[in-house]
């Protein structure tokens, strides 16, 4: 039985520029409009927000933001100060891979019609420590998580199969040791 699954990102172009991008974390007031203030600063200076994760803080008056940013590194320190200057931003830090832990999660839907493909895909999933979270006759959804480059590598390998769509959470970051995020 063959079914066509409609999707808007049928032909995914891998985004290598996410790798090595800058990772910022912000601790902000949990209020409407805060994100607008932050996004305007990046847009004005032609920085791209590659990924964005927002979640409520342990104290519900505040939120955590992790942003993956690409753009001219020379201007970034000033942009960080501009974000920090916003009344609604408690603090804004840049994190590098050596002083922080960065993780993200991806869901990948692969078309697996015909049994031998399915076995190969499952081998890749196992290699990356992923999981199959949904399975139908025509497709399966795989969950991979880890550092962004690991997720990228898994998706790169899966690109050899018929990927229907991918969804990534975007990276979350936490500073190592005593430093605050």
């Amino acid at each position: 039985m063959s079914r066509t699954i409609t999707t808007s990102d049928k032909k995914p172009a891998p985004r290598p520029d996410i790798i090595g991008g800058h990772t910022l974390s912000m601790y902000v007031n949990n209020k409407p409009g805060v994100l607008m203030r932050i996004c305007q600063i990046f847009a004005r200076r032609a920085y791209n927000i590659d990924s964005l994760v927002v979640s409520q803080g342990r104290d519900p008056r505040f939120s955590r933001l992790t942003l993956g940013i690409s753009g001219d590194p020379a201007g970034l320190p000033q942009i960080i100060l501009q974000c920090d200057k916003l009344i609604d931003v408690i603090h804004c830090f840049e994190h590098t891979p050596d002083n922080s832990v960065v993780r993200e999660l991806a869901l990948v839907k692969v078309s697996v019609e015909g049994g031998e493909k399915r076995t190969e895909v499952l081998q890749i999933v196992e290699h990356f420590g992923g999981k199959t979270v949904d399975l139908s006759e025509a497709s399966m959804i795989i969950r991979v998580e880890g550092a962004s480059d690991k997720v990228d590598a898994a998706i790169r390998l899966l690109n050899n199969y018929d990927i229907i769509e991918t969804v990534r959470t975007g990276k979350v970051v936490m500073a190592r040791g005593e430093q605050s995020t």
Partner: protein
């Protein structure tokens, strides 16, 4: 009719009561449906607040701005939703660019209609995010007093700026049951850290200052905001440095002082710009190194060490990377710095700069018609440099900056960062309200004056003795100058044909009008205007149509490439934008 008990109050009344407690004297504004509860509260709450009805919301913002720049206290604006709030954008942006404290209260549609394109709904919160220091959309009646206190705190501390409070009509109209004295809660805002300055940066600054042979002090608007006049004077005397100021720093150091070299930058004095090009140390106290003063950034003061004293860390290194950054309030910084500074002897350096003062003085031709420079020179003399001068934007503004030497802070009020035409006259109204006993002179071009001239009515109603000096060249002169110099004199969109008879226009509003046509009449007619105090007086000075402002550094060019007089060769189009 005063209201007695707190439980009878609505949100609007609680808000006006709070504004009164915060010391608001004047609110400039324009009424409308969504703001009705706030307007009504102005009548029902006993307060010292006086409301000034303007003729346009933009005028209200510039009046609040002029009031703020003349006093250091925030100016307050009250407008309705949608078009009313929309008309404030230029004025808010003007205040934001020049670090001016301002509170804008805008009425708004009821909360349950927001986002539905309801009548006169505009997302003024979203629209103003890029032009405010902060803004609020209040959804709870009981939050109003707290938000007002937070807005004032934000507008007036740290680097000042405008704060907008959007108040939906149901929020202002509902009963107030909260705490009028609710404390502010701004965990992300710590302006007090500006008072705590890194001592190692001060020590390093002192070391550079004590080593310098040819220091120059650049006094910016931030020095004025900090109230650092005395410390600046002490620093100048102790280091024997020439002192230049930005357009917005005019007056923080007396411009007639022998150490003053006047304004630097695009239309600054030749000697200020030469001092910048030759110094070995630049001490910037509270200026943000605007592109109009640095020209080509990589050549600016390339030969010198640079110290930047600045309250806003996001300004440090933004345009120019300093050798030493002192982050904090300028007054506190200078107070802590001064004990480390030795008395210098820079007689040779000062002598050298004085040579430039003699060689390249500011001047103007006395023949060939009436020149704006003469009018400004004479008004300076007649008022002993003591008047409050507000300006509009253009050639008249630059000549006013050159010829009206300011001796004290808060007496020079000009739109610098935004360069907003239409600013000068309403700003003078705000300044005159703030300082009823001072002589306030609005210097305007014939172009910019026509953008907000409807406010003559406001000045007449309140019998404000403002001197409106329209320097009339029948041109958008500043733009025409660029077209003459850089676009083969091809005039495009600069001829102000159809100008009204300004004196008749003034008279139509019940304002006195005076024409000046001949250079010989200037003194007498200006004196007549200065002696008239029964209300505003408009002086229309018919000036030479095609004069140009010099010195000039073409936008984006290096200070070394300054044109001290008209160029003899064809000029390339400037690389800097404006």
């Amino acid at each position: 009719m005063a209201i007695a008990k707190q439980e009878e109050m609505d949100g609007a009344q609680a808000l006006i009561k709070t504004l009164n407690e915060l010391g608001v004297e004047y609110i400039f504004g324009y009424s409308g449906g969504a703001a009705l509860p706030m307007f009504d509260a102005l009548e029902t709450v006993e307060s010292n607040i006086k409301f000034v009805l303007t003729r346009h919301e933009q005028g209200a913002t510039h009046m609040a701005d002029g009031y703020a720049r003349a006093t250091g206290k925030p100016g307050v604006v009250l407008v309705t939703s949608g078009p009313g709030a929309g008309n404030t954008i230029t004025g808010i942006m003007t205040a934001q660019m020049d670090s001016v404290p301002m509170i804008i209260l805008s009425g708004q549609q009821v909360t349950w209609m927001l986002g539905k394109d309801a009548f006169q709904e505009a997302d003024i919160f979203g629209i103003t995010i890029p032009v405010v220091k902060h803004n609020f959309l209040v959804r709870e009646t009981n939050e109003l007093p707290k938000v007002a206190r937070e807005a004032f705190h934000i507008a007036t501390t740290g680097r000042p700026g405008p704060v907008l409070i959007d108040v939906p009509k149901n929020v202002s109209q509902s009963p107030f049951t909260g705490d009028l004295d609710a404390q502010i809660d701004l965990p992300g805002y710590n302006p007090e850290k500006a008072m705590d300055i890194d001592s190692s940066s001060l020590e390093e600054a002192a070391r550079l200052i004590n080593l310098a042979k040819k220091p120059v002090i650049l006094a910016g608007h931030g020095a004025m905001i900090a109230g650092a006049e005395a410390e600046l004077m002490e620093l100048a005397n102790r280091t024997e440095s020439p002192v230049t100021s930005t357009l917005l720093g005019k007056g923080v150091f007396p411009e007639s002082h022998p150490l003053s070299v006047g304004m630097l930058g695009m239309h600054g004095t030749a000697y200020a710009n030469k001092a910048i090009c030759e110094c070995d140390l630049l001490i910037n106290v509270g200026s943000r190194f605007d592109d109009r003063i640095i020209g080509q950034a990589d050549k600016f003061c390339a030969q010198a060490k640079i110290i930047h004293i600045e309250i806003d860390s996001a300004e440090v290194g933004k345009m120019i990377v300093p050798d030493v950054a002192v982050v904090g309030d300028a007054k506190v910084a200078l107070k802590q710095l001064l004990p480390m500074i030795e008395q210098a002897d820079h007689a040779d350096w000062l002598e050298h700069i004085n040579g430039y003062k003699k060689k390249y003085p500011l001047g103007y031709k006395k023949q060939g018609g009436l020149r704006m420079q003469q009018v400004l020179d004479e008004i300076h003399e007649l008022t002993n440099g003591e008047a409050i001068i507000t300006t509009d934007v253009g050639q008249h503004q630059m000549w006013a900056a050159q010829f009206y030497l300011n001796e004290a802070s808060f007496k020079w009020i000009s739109s610098g960062g935004a360069g907003t035409m239409g600013f000068g006259f309403p700003a003078a109204i705000g300044a005159q309200f703030a300082c009823p006993d001072e002589t306030v002179i609005a210097v305007a071009g014939d172009g910019g004056f026509q953008m907000t001239l409807c406010e003559i009515a406001t000045a007449v109603i309140h019998k404000l003795p403002i001197k409106i000096l329209v320097l009339n060249n029948h041109y958008l002169g500043m733009v025409r100058q660029w077209q003459e110099l850089f676009f083969d004199n091809r005039e495009s969109g600069v001829d102000l044909e159809g100008n009204p008879d300004f004196v008749k226009l003034a008279e139509a509003y019940g304002c006195k009008g005076i024409n000046i046509k001949r250079p010989a009449d200037v003194k007498k007619k200006l004196q007549e205007a200065l002696d008239y105090n029964d209300g505003p007086v408009l002086i229309n000075a018919e000036c030479v149509k095609t004069d140009n402002v010099f010195p000039m550094i073409p936008a984006g060019a290096a200070l070394e490439d300054m044109l001290i007089e008209p160029p003899k060769h064809k000029m390339a189009k400037p690389v800097g934008s404006t």
